[in-house]
Amino acid sequence: MLYPDTVEAEILVHKPWFVATMFGAVFAIFLAFNLTSTSFGELMRPVIGEPSQSGLYGRFAIAFVIALLFVLNVVLIGFASLRVQIAIVWFELLLLFLAFFATFHLSLPFIWEKLPFLISQGVVTTLYVSAISIVIASLIAILGAVAKLSTNGFAYAIASFYTSFFRGLPLLMQVYLIYLGLPQLGFVVGAVPAGILALSLCYGAYMTEIFRSGIQSIDRGQWEASRSMGFGFSLTMRRIILPQALPVIIPPTGNQFISMLKDSSLVSVIGVWELMFLARTLGQKTFQHMEMLISASAIYWMLSICLELIQSRIERHYARSKVR
């Protein structure tokens, strides 16, 4: 939360002018579309007669009803408590998206049939590839951040070259380099280790920057206090600086974790059967890849919601010391 002011704004959605504006806007938007031929038009049949012939009157009536429903909904939600408001809005948005997906006319039985395999093979691979990569990347990131902030020429040069190189090159290229290039030097690496190596190196580079900015955000007074007590560098870092930097570091790191989940799909180019790969292949044969893509997306979303929940728990833990 922002540091909240002690003055509460009046509930915006209960102000008459706001309600009126909202109504007008929604009405205008829906008037602009011709929705008479949709299922909503069907629903309105008792009022507007045969939808396809209702013309302007039909459009007007539909837009009016939608706007009314929308405004009523908003005003009613405005009365609820904060948590309930959030839950309702989430729920409604979710419904809207489901309705949107329904326009793709997906075959549900097909999804149900493939889901177990998608999860047992795809999700498991995706999860373990990204979990291992995340751990390695975080370790690299701490080292990299300290090196990038150090006054040691070697450490700085190597770390900055590393971040520049592995952020600059497309991840796909890194996968190729490791998968096809290392054998030329005499190591033949398997597809999964190559993928994990590429992901760790790439995300390590991104996270180096995040950790660096987090460490830099800590007030120098903390360094001074820590030093004045005789703490060494590593102790200061571990116990004083990093714990304070975490609240700043966690949200962008969460970003990286979530996008790592999806970038782990790049290892499929070298033949690893992770989630996205399966989604594309399972549907291809029967031409139902949209079904599979949407299922895969839903699974990714679930996974990232899990990560988000974990993240918000950690954030709450570290925010303890800030509440007064």
Partner: protein
């Protein structure tokens, strides 16, 4: 059709990643067998041809909403796909073949029993290697499974599979199933690989358009039939493959 004629341009979707059917040539323009076929069809309908290159998934999702009118991109006309598309005309057949590293001791397909084979994912080649191929399109020639691999590796594209084969015989792969033309091209590009045995099956490939325009469909069918009849198609195939693939041998 009305839209195509009114605009005077035929928008053709194709894949730019599929030499020698369609690719970007040294003048940085689209070129290849599919491209020439599409141009020829356009000429015969009497409109200019314009190309767009969306991804395969996007094309096969259907619902083109007028972004393009026709797909000439070596699509295999399966029954499932026929639910979404009309296939006015099959315009050629590609042979699929097996390639091995040039140091390989295998001399016939049966030598590859129990070996590791690579193929492009979700392709008919992969299906073949897994003994899971159905060619239910009209006019598909019959075939039999001659390959008994221990393991099938799937790749995003055939080039990655070739790259893996190139590293050495049996290092990651023992053989790759792919289209004969692409094997020939790879050999030309200096890959240390060779084809063994005869082509294992032939795959019919067709022009695709959306349902609901029988007139347009008929026009395309006529054009392709005429191209076949007067040998244009054969010439084009010879130009690109050195062989006439417009008929099953």
């Amino acid at each position: 059709l009305d839209r195509v004629l009114a605009a005077g341009t035929l928008k053709v979707a194709t894949d730019a990643n599929w030499a020698p059917q369609s690719f970007v040539n040294s003048n940085n323009e689209l070129d290849g067998f599919d491209v020439d076929v599409a141009k020829e069809i356009g000429k015969r309908i009497g409109v200019k041809v314009e190309f767009v290159t969306p991804g395969w998934d996007i094309i096969t999702a259907g619902n083109w909403v007028g972004r393009w009118d026709m797909h000439v991109g070596s699509m295999t006309p399966t029954k499932k796909r026929a639910e979404i598309f009309d296939f006015p005309a099959v315009y050629y057949y590609t042979p699929a073949a097996v390639a091995v590293h040039k140091d390989s001791k295998a001399t016939s397909l049966s030598d590859l029993d129990g070996k590791v084979v690579g193929a492009t994912t979700t392709s008919t080649f992969e299906a073949y290697a897994k003994k899971d191929l159905t060619l239910d399109a009209a006019g598909a020639p019959p075939f039999e499974y001659k390959l008994n691999p221990k393991e099938v590796h799937s790749y995003e594209s055939s080039t990655t599979a070739f790259d893996d084969l190139r590293i050495g015989d049996g290092v990651r792969l023992d053989a790759v199933v792919s289209s004969q033309p692409s094997i020939v091209d790879a050999v030309k590009a200096g890959y240390p690989i060779k084809q063994i045995g005869e082509p294992v099956f032939y795959e019919p490939l067709a022009v695709a358009i959306e349902h609901g325009d029988p007139e347009f469909s008929a026009k395309i069918a006529d054009a392709v039939k005429a191209m076949k009849a007067d040998g244009t198609l054969g010439t084009l195939s010879k130009k690109w493959y050195g062989v006439d693939y417009s008929i099953v041998r």
